[in-house]
């Protein structure tokens, strides 16, 4: 009875939608019908992910006054302004610095540290060091920013006090108040904060490498550096690739730490694209121009992401 019910249902479905000689719907029609099951997800993703992206490009071609609601179409004028805005170039430079320094410390530095920790003989020691390095990552970036603001303070800050105490008075300076050092001081804090998290991810990747490979290498006479270079590094390249993507996209989306520590100052020297976007939109009331800056961030992170994904797809590691 139940079987008959199913069959009759299938026939009725086919009759209503058109079917091939065998009774099943045509492949093209079947594909379209199956779209119903993902329609809700597609609409939600379209609404919450793609619509804001497309809308941002639309907004970037306008000049908007949020108070009066006036929207004027200005074509590509905001992009033209962007090219001639020296602060945009300062911001791009600062974001790039952020990315390069973060790759050095949070990708390659973290990889080396993870390899050293995982090379320790004792499991207990490994756990201890992993936890030690991970602690800063458990602190919110805003709290870390405030903490380092006090460390960098010119009068009562720990850093200047430490320099004075060892006779390096010549190096004492207002780290966040000097246009030459402000962005480096922020980046340094960010490395402290993110280093442990990257180390932990690399440690997990290293743990997945089969032990026999190392045993065979030892029998062949490979030393620790050789094993690191010929086994650990190539077999964690997928994680390395992923970390590079995350680090670069993160570097171009950085906002909180700059906002908390300098708000882009002094004299815009530590502006990054995110804070300059905020300044234009929410302080100077230039939402159209802010959207143009957002478009730049989107393009940079998107291109980086695609390039890196293509690279790692070609070099996937499988055990």
């Amino acid at each position: 009875m139940a079987v008959t019910g199913v069959n009759s249902g299938a026939v009725s479905y086919g009759a209503a939608t058109g079917q091939g000689a065998s009774g099943a719907p045509k492949p093209r029609l079947r594909n379209l019908l199956s779209f119903r099951w993902v329609a809700v997800a597609v609409i939600l993703i379209g609404w919450f992910v793609y619509y804001p992206i497309v809308d941002n490009f639309v907004v970037s071609t306008t000049d908007q006054d949020i108070f009066t609601g006036e929207v004027t179409n200005v074509g590509l004028a905001n992009y033209d302004r962007l090219l001639n805005d020296p602060i945009v170039w300062t911001s791009l430079w600062n974001n790039s610095l952020y990315a390069v320094i973060s790759i050095v410390f949070q990708v390659f530095g973290a990889f080396l540290l993870a390899a050293i920790i995982e090379g320790l003989g004792s499991e207990r020691l490994q756990r201890f060091w992993r936890a030690i390095y991970f602690v800063p990552s458990a602190i919110s970036i805003t709290v870390s920013g405030l903490l380092f603001y006090f460390i960098y303070q010119p009068e009562i800050g720990l850093l200047d006090a430490a320099l004075r105490s060892v006779g390096l008075d010549a190096l004492v300076k207002p780290w966040l108040g000097d246009p030459k050092t402000a962005i480096y001081a922020i980046i340094a804090m960010s490395q402290w904060q993110g280093f442990g998290y990257s180390t932990l991810l690399f440690a997990i990747a290293i743990q997945k490498i089969p032990r026999e490979l190392y045993d065979a290498a030892i029998i062949d006479g490979a030393g620790p550096l050789r094993r690191l270079w010929s086994i650990t590094f190539p077999l964690t390249r997928e994680m390395t690739g992923l970390m590079i993507i995350i680090t670069i996209t993160g570097a171009f989306q950085v906002f909180n730490e700059v906002m908390v520590m300098t708000a882009g100052g002094p004299n815009n020297s530590s502006q990054v694209l995110g804070t300059w976007l905020y300044q234009q939109g929410f302080i100077e009331n230039n939402f159209g121009y802010g959207a143009a800056i957002a478009a730049v961030i989107f393009v940079v992170t998107m291109v980086t992401g695609i390039a890196q994904l293509l690279y790692t797809r070609r070099r996937r590691v499988q055990f």
């Binding site: 949020i66 966040l176 000097d178």
Partner: protein
């Protein structure tokens, strides 16, 4: 299949985007006039955006909200409390998302003018104008400060002005007195520095503290009419020689009285703390900060706290009796569903009784309500400050709220550079003029 799904997804996204863009507007709203005869419906929720987010200030509105809810059980008051630094960003976010609260904080000048221009502030002329009962209960100059195009849009809550606070004990030990001229102030600074004390603690991480110094000096150096012409983006020129003169005076003050370039690495709160801890001899502050400088638990005692108006430089061509400051207050959203209730709540907030609470420690915000600033409950310094304020010939508005956002941003960043030594006064003015010229083109 994969390809067709992609096509569908992109089409849906694009169609949604275009559809929304076509129909999008910030719905600035229509002009709304408050009706004095409107009946108040004591029900529903009333949202209020305040600038009392600091820990020591936040209980004021919290207590008022509780009291109002107790009086009117059908009403719920929802507070969003922001600090001086965060309220600008928060307000603009709320405006951009059409979720501005029923009652919201506003400065006078171009900041408040934005809400009037966009029909986001209720015209309160018939309920708060000088001839109305409510209007008469408030300090006339404070009500006047929220006048735009001949109409009244704001409810002043307190009066604010900038003074140089000083530690009387340090001054007396060094045989100094409150200076009568700018030059005497500089000479006092030299004496204090020789004694191993920081003359003026100044934290400029937020950039606006230096703007406040310059604002007062501009009032002294640039004629009032010229200043007001330059506040207007359509007529701004910034070509008066008084601008550069004021910046040179500030630079000299920064070099001789403060820790110089390090100021950009310190917050204004740290500088206030240094003064309060008696680590510095002076701190340039708003009258609403007096009770924070000399609090019961601070090293600087109330009896040792003195203040003076930043003295006038020799040969200044502006108004020697001007004081930098302005009332600060609240506006009512034209989109509010219950405007009479919002007005009723603000009448409650600005009552004489609540004004006295606001004026007294720990809040120390001199109420704009007549009789609200009670000398009995207020700190003597705040009372004295109010007297000086009353005798001022002109209230110079804050530069960063009087000018357009773009010009204000130019002032903020370039003055930070001047303080740090990477720009000259002339370069600062070039940057301000450039911003003004870009504004004029809009």
């Amino acid at each position: 299949m994969k390809r067709s799904l992609h096509v569908v997804a992109v089409t849906v996204a694009a169609a949604t985007a275009l559809g929304f863009s076509a129909g999008k507007s910030y719905s600035a709203g229509k002009a709304v006039e408050a009706d004095p005869a409107a009946k108040v419906d004591y029900s529903g929720t009333l949202s209020v955006l305040t600038k009392f987010g600091l820990q020591q200030l936040s209980p004021y509105f919290v207590d008022l909200a509780k009291e109002y809810e107790k009086l009117h059980p059908g009403v719920k008051v929802e507070l969003i409390q922001e600090s001086d630094d965060s309220v600008k960003g928060k307000t603009k976010t709320l405006v951009a998302s059409n979720s501005l609260t029923d009652v919201y904080f506003s400065w006078t000048g171009s900041w408040g003018g934005n809400f009037v221009r966009g029909n986001r502030a209720v015209d309160l002329s018939k309920v708060i104008g000088p001839d109305t009962e409510w209007g008469k209960s408030l300090v006339p100059a404070a009500v006047q400060a929220f006048q735009y195009n001949g109409k009244y849009y704001g409810i002043p809550l307190y009066l604010d002005a900038k003074f140089m606070g000083y530690n009387k004990q340090i001054f007396s030990k060094l045989g100094l007195s409150a200076p009568n001229s700018f030059e005497q102030l500089l000479s006092n600074c030299d004496t204090i520095r020789k004694a191993g004390i920081v003359p003026i603690s100044l934290g400029n991480k937020e950039a606006w503290p230096v703007v406040h110094y310059v604002g007062q000096l501009l009032a002294y150096d640039v004629p009032r009419e010229t200043l007001e012409r330059d506040f207007n983006p359509k007529t701004a020129k910034f070509d008066d020689p008084g601008y550069v003169a004021a910046l040179k005076q500030f630079k000299e003050l920064a070099d001789r009285c403060t820790n110089g370039a390090t100021m950009n690495g310190e917050s204004y709160a740290s500088a206030l703390q240094a003064f309060s801890n008696a680590k510095s001899a002076m701190y340039y502050q708003e009258i609403i900060e007096f009770d924070q400088s000399a609090a019961p638990d601070s090293a600087l005692k109330q009896a040792d706290f003195g203040f003076f108006v930043l003295p006038v430089p020799e040969g200044a061509k502006g108004d020697a009796k001007a004081v930098e400051g302005a009332p600060e207050g609240y506006m009512i959203n034209t989109a509010s569903k219950n405007i009479p209730l919002a007005i009723d709540f603000m009448k409650f907030v600005t009552s004489k009784e609540h004004g006295q609470v606001l004026s007294a420690p720990p809040y120390g915000q001199p109420s704009a309500t007549v009789g609200g600033a009670s000398e009995k409950s207020m700190s003597p310094a705040v009372v004295e400050g109010l007297q000086v304020l009353k005798s001022a010939s002109y209230l110079m508005p804050w530069l960063d709220t009087a000018n357009s956002p773009r010009v204000a941003a130019a002032w903020l960043s370039s003055l930070q550079a001047l303080a740090g030594g990477s720009m000259t006064p002339e370069q600062v003015m070039d940057q301000v003029k450039e911003a003004a010229a870009a504004d004029a083109k809009k």
